[in-house]
């Protein structure tokens, strides 16, 4: 699959990643090269193969459904770039 600059722009928007317009062509070329390379997997016969979703042979444990943590507003907000009072603050979303 070869990607053109429009597709790269769409992916970048999906990924919420600002990409300068004058980088789009070079990036399209780079990403196309990588995609072309990974497409060698098409050669592999995977009919009937169950996709590997877990590395270790184990079932996920379930813990008791009780509160074990939380209520630590100071720690949660300690690294916020610009908190207001006890909240994370972002540019206005809803008028």
């Amino acid at each position: 699959m070869s990607l053109d600059r429009t597709t790269v722009k769409t992916i970048a928007t999906l990924a919420r990643l600002r990409v300068a317009d004058d980088h789009l062509d070079a990036l399209a070329q780079e990403l196309s090269t990588i995609l072309h390379w990974v497409e060698q997997l098409r050669e592999v016969d995977t009919d009937g193969v169950v996709p590997m979703t877990s590395v270790a042979a184990m079932t996920l444990r379930q813990r008791e459904d009780v509160v074990t943590d939380g209520g630590d507003r100071g720690a949660v907000l300690a690294n916020a770039p610009s908190p207001i009072d006890d909240y994370f603050a972002v540019p206005k979303v809803v008028e």
């Binding site: 990607l3 790269v8 992916i11 970048a12 928007t13 999906l14 990924a15 919420r16 990643l17 600002r18 990409v19 990036l27 780079e30 990403l31 090269t33 990588i34 995609l35 390379w37 990974v38 497409e39 060698q40 997997l41 098409r42 050669e43 592999v44 995977t46 193969v49 169950v50 996709p51 590997m52 979703t53 877990s54 590395v55 270790a56 042979a57 184990m58 996920l60 444990r61 813990r63 720690a75 300690a78 690294n79 916020a80 770039p81 610009s82 994370f88 972002v90 540019p91 979303v93």
Partner: protein
């Protein structure tokens, strides 16, 4: 200059502390001095001398009271800056984590701290552990203490390059690393040290900045196999905070070391003899076979038929998981924020400015292979091939106890090389990625020097949760190789 204290192994330093030959404060000061003298290597992003000395004093006080906590108590170590450390800047080598000071400690570093280990500082790494050279770090490349060679500084490998350089240059007795596709083993090979990536699930991933969650695993980087066994024993263990952490007791890894390899069957995978393999890599591999045979092991050829597809599989799965994991860096809750008029623009500006070129590339590839219409063709296909790669290993381990391969396809290259084409750089991990995809334990042991006088490592791979056999065979290899234990001469000039 090396002094007597920085010339020790971790095991010998532990014995010296136990005997009272020196204190942890004396040991720690020797390493802090060594770090200060070697700043040109750029191995550390953050040095933590106050924390180090406070922990060393506490260790000495415990020991004086007869309450020493074991062989890591009072031992100065370095921590890869991918582990969250309470109250200490944690960067993941990225601009996007500017100013991030965790309010919690990762489980692995908490285990080390609770065992009395002394943190000297946080080591440099490729941004978000994405790289094989340390050149993608926002904080600049690390120089290998083995360089310069032919007038050029060398990479230490990556992504745990700062940790590898620090251990090789005697700036610490051991360091933590993380390995997603080879990030412990390849830099260990380049720097002439031991690096073990245990089985996926052996060490908790809680508090480690996530790259690719189904592959990431913490491990130990040290100068000897025994040191790796001691350090890994403290790092490992079940953790309820990581649902993929295996509820298994941690064996005494050092107990396995003296057993030798008599009675072991060692597999030599024929598919690892790749086209264009350098003669000296092939030669060191053959030498490794001969060493293990001379020590009493039986070697047999095994087949891992899907080896050739491992890198392509990895470069779908790892970016896919990374694009998902890195969605959290949006300028809202921590790290860098690049202001904008709207929320969406703030996300885009923050991520566009905060991520370097390699991270951007992987986030975009990952987003693409997970996007509607392409998921089955790329991601699902890769998960199926991954299952076949894991099956290859499972079949091989029906007839062998451990597998021997080269660690990396070359010795260290110069800073700035291999950057024209991302795929050239990805090829560094050709021998380590299959093990990562299968979740198996792997170790790199320094085996010899290349024609250019640079370290070459050999890799041993074992069955799931059988680090003991891996370490046992590694000890035999180490003893046969008699790898130079003296500092590379250039490092002491820095």
């Amino acid at each position: 200059m090396t002094n007597a204290l920085t010339g020790l192994t971790l095991a010998a330093a532990g014995d010296g502390l136990a005997r009272g030959a020196f204190s942890s404060v004396e040991l720690t000061r020797a390493y802090l001095d060594a770090m200060a003298a070697a700043r040109a290597l750029n191995a550390f992003i953050t040095e933590t001398p106050e924390i180090a000395l406070a922990r060393a004093e506490a260790s000495d006080a415990r020991r004086a009271a007869g309450r020493a906590r074991g062989r890591m108590d009072g031992i100065p170590i370095a921590i890869k800056d991918l582990f969250c450390t309470e109250g200490v800047l944690t960067t993941a080598g990225s601009h996007v984590l500017d100013g991030f000071v965790p309010t919690y400690e990762s489980t692995v570093t908490a285990n080390l701290r609770d065992a009395g280990a002394v943190m000297l500082g946080k080591t440099n790494l490729d941004e978000f552990a994405m790289g094989s050279s340390n050149m993608t770090s926002y904080y600049g490349p690390v120089k290998s203490p083995w360089g310069p060679k032919d007038g050029k500084d060398l990479v230490p490998g990556g992504s745990s390059g700062g940790s590898a350089a620090a251990v090789a240059a005697r700036l610490c007795l051991g360091a933590t690393g993380t390995d997603t596709g080879g990030s412990i083993r390849q830099p260990a090979s380049f720097c002439g040290i031991v690096g073990i990536k245990p089985t996926y699930g052996r060490c908790s991933r809680w508090g480690i900045v996530a790259f690719a969650s189904s592959l990431d695993q913490a491990g130990a980087m040290t100068r000897t196999v025994e040191d790796a066994a001691i350090m890994l024993g403290v790092m490992a263990g079940h953790d309820a905070k990581d649902s993929t952490s295996m509820p298994l007791a941690v064996p005494d890894f050092t107990a396995a070391l003296g057993a030798g390899v008599r009675g072991l069957t060692v597999g030599i995978p024929r598919e690892y003899r790749i086209d264009g393999m350098s003669g000296e890599i092939d030669a060191i591999w053959r030498q490794g076979v001969a060493w293990l045979e001379a020590a009493g092991a039986r070697t047999v050829e095994v087949s891992l038929p899907h080896t050739a597809y491992a890198l392509a599989t990895y470069y779908i799965i790892a970016p896919a998981e990374a694009s998902s994991n890195l969605a959290r860096y949006d300028g809202v809750r921590f790290g860098l924020r690049v202001p904008a008029a709207s929320l969406d623009e703030m996300y885009q500006n923050t991520r566009g400015e905060g991520f370097g070129a390699e991270v951007r590339r992987r986030v975009l590839i990952g987003t693409y292979v997970l996007s509607a219409g392409y998921y089955d063709a790329y991601y699902l296909k890769a998960q199926k091939v991954r299952a076949l790669i894991a099956r290859d290993f499972a079949r091989a381990f029906e007839s062998v106890d451990v597998i021997l391969t080269p660690t990396a396809p070359s010795d260290a290259f110069a800073i700035g090389e291999n950057t024209d084409d991302p795929i050239t750089m990805y090829l560094n991990d050709v021998f380590t990625v299959p093990t990562s995809l299968a979740g198996l334990p792997g170790i790199s042991v320094p085996a010899g020097l290349s024609a250019r006088g640079l370290p070459l490592g050999l890799q041993l791979v074992g069955r799931p949760f059988d680090e003991e056999t891996v370490l046992r065979a590694a000890a035999a290899l180490e003893s046969a190789a008699g790898f130079p234990t003296t500092l590379p001469t250039s490092a002491s000039d820095r």
